[in-house]
Symmetry: C2
Subunit: 471 residues, 2 copies
Amino acid sequence: MMKSIVSSKYLACLVGSIILNLLFIINIYVGGQWKLSWSLGAAIEAETVAAIYCSGHGRAYLDGLVVVGNKPVCDCNTCFTGPDCSQFIPHCTANADGLDPEYLTARKLPSDQLRDPPASSEALHLASSALVVAGWHQMSYTYGGQSFFSKELAKVVRKVHASVGNAVTQNRFIIFGAGSTQVLSAAVFALSPENTSSPAKVVTSVPYYPVDKQQTQYFSSQKFKYEGDAYRWKNRSDCSSTNMIEIVTSPNNPDGQLKKAIFHGPNVKTIYDHAYYWPHFTPIPAPSDEDVMVFTLSKLTGHAGTRLGWAVIKDETVFNRMMIHMRMNSMGVSKDAQLRAFKLLNAVLEEGIGIFDFAYQTMKSRWERLVQTVSLSNRFSLQENNPQYCTFYNKVRRLSPAYAWLKCEREEDKDCYAVLEAANIIGRQGNLFGAEDGYVRLSLVRTQDDFDILIERLHKLITEEDGDKTM
Amino acid sequence: MMKSIVSSKYLACLVGSIILNLLFIINIYVGGQWKLSWSLGAAIEAETVAAIYCSGHGRAYLDGLVVVGNKPVCDCNTCFTGPDCSQFIPHCTANADGLDPEYLTARKLPSDQLRDPPASSEALHLASSALVVAGWHQMSYTYGGQSFFSKELAKVVRKVHASVGNAVTQNRFIIFGAGSTQVLSAAVFALSPENTSSPAKVVTSVPYYPVDKQQTQYFSSQKFKYEGDAYRWKNRSDCSSTNMIEIVTSPNNPDGQLKKAIFHGPNVKTIYDHAYYWPHFTPIPAPSDEDVMVFTLSKLTGHAGTRLGWAVIKDETVFNRMMIHMRMNSMGVSKDAQLRAFKLLNAVLEEGIGIFDFAYQTMKSRWERLVQTVSLSNRFSLQENNPQYCTFYNKVRRLSPAYAWLKCEREEDKDCYAVLEAANIIGRQGNLFGAEDGYVRLSLVRTQDDFDILIERLHKLITEEDGDKTM
């Protein structure tokens, strides 16, 4: 009897164990996830690198810095050092110069998840934005022998604009370039008159995005010439017969305002740089419907390094001339960048409002901290921020721009950049934007580390100012 | 006793089964290949698309044409159609115009392997060239806040040149661009004099690569101007004091010859376009050691769509000016393209002589078939092909260029392009290369399908010519 019980227990265990065996076998040979062949090695390699722990103050990359053997090491944020980026560098300068799009995915790293498991939505994001590329993927110059540009990517771009409601894309042409930088240049070339003795005047209104000026000057020719601040030309009668090209950065860089064109008329061409026209930076009053509208992945998902921008164009001739520019300049755009954008924008669509809301909440909370800090001071002020109705959120809301346009209010602080530099803060000088040096642009789109240090330094500067006042 | 035997058998089975389960569990949780998390979905997706069968006459891509639902369909080679590209299009035109780098990996597709298992070296190639990219990989404009260009990629480029022996890279600067197209343009801008009243004369010797002319004309300004065939300027005394920039395509496109510069002297700057200076196209007499040497991934591994070229530069000032160009033009180069190149060039290094030999054998056998076909004819001739010593293969060998430079020998065949077109063959007109229209360039770097149809059409044309002769 005893033995019988024992053996029937054995039997039960055996059956259970065999069922488990079968389940494993089914998983291995039938279940999709164990059938991997050629991608397996690369996937393990990528996940291994992604799991390198950098204390939340850095990252390791497959093609990042390699110090010992073949293993990549952590690439640390500005003020951190050490093999795992855990050591803070005292008296480190607050870097508020330029964009570091890591802010968009700050807490979404596999290496961080090892210590701090993510919410399921974040894990989903990681999975949906991952990309696997075969060695032989899209080797040709063109897609199907026809175009340098992916039709499937253009479809996804249209869907994203439709879901956000920030641009009209029906019956419009879409062209891609290496970031909005190359697309803007292509537009200037394409809108310049052919066979003319006097080059088109390219203008931007102060404060303007410095690259527009630098780039137009760099490529200036018989076709076009940079002519500075748009306001300077506004009421000059000799402009009515001149070909003008106005670049309107809206929302503006540096100050985040929804700028409008100054020039209108038959000889005027307008390029709307809508890089920041996304709900995490600005209310969206209505879908934009301009002749030439420029967007970029870098300000949407944060992938600046992918170099993928696009233009939405009404006129076929302008589109064709931009296509010629892209051929002459670089024979199209990296298909790897197009594939990455395709994958990322599909992930954006899958997540719905998710990514915009994550980015908006990040920007909003940073602005709240900044406004609170600056409000303690009489020495500094920030740009205007009048609420507007946003069709994306269906409510009235304020701007939450990528940059603060800080003004030094005291007369003796003419060089605002120097004032901040003395307090260990690096911004960008006002004169680069055509404005006075009483202004400095501070970037709020950098890592959380950079932002935290910026606020700390600003707070110290302002507190000491108060200390002075009480004396 | 009986029960005891049964239960001990049960026990043995149970122990065995438990051990098997443990092995499975160890595999799943400890063994590398079953630890995949965030990359798994993307890997399955990529392998599923790669396994779509296109009869060896096409491919399906993740971002390729989508017809039904979300599943990509086959993108067929020129003369094939149908859902699996199995239907040949009769009387289809032979396309010998331009490059389709698929010829380098023709038999290495997973979908083909399903029917025709690959040699292990090819499977290795597939695995070593596969790439997995996390959604958050390298989002910033720069690497480590410093450069637009990957230092690790530059290291691999140096290693590849060292292993092939085609260029000196020690104590040289390396810069990347969107294909050799953008790099060549950057070099022309960088070598032009600053602050001059007379633009530098940019010249190329006939037959020249058409893009050099088109691109220089497109961007011409106060800095430089395209001035046509270099030979035209050779003996003119007014050139000794003029700034000259000569672009030397060597091996040359269209004719594969190892061209040398025509101009020398203190006012002369030379750009060597070495796109084809790899052992599958040409003997390598010695490592090149020119001031500015331009290379591109498209002619090395065939990844034209990745848009990744580079220059090896002696002079730091020239390097710095090219860096400015890359910033002004496109804020650097797609990091996705750089990562892909990093992965592919590492795969090239891992394979040693393998990939060059595969490509060389392909080119050599195509040339043998072409020479054999054309040798039957008095109407057509091919470019010179004198053997030279190749340091890569340690032997004397002939050229195996990417293009045939076909000449129509009969006086009445002045328009050689039209002669071929009438025979259903599309080449590229001689006048595009600054030569006479008695010449046509035929591309030998397209799919095996395209090459087979080209030879078939040429053979037909030549056989009919012989038929005429006998009458």
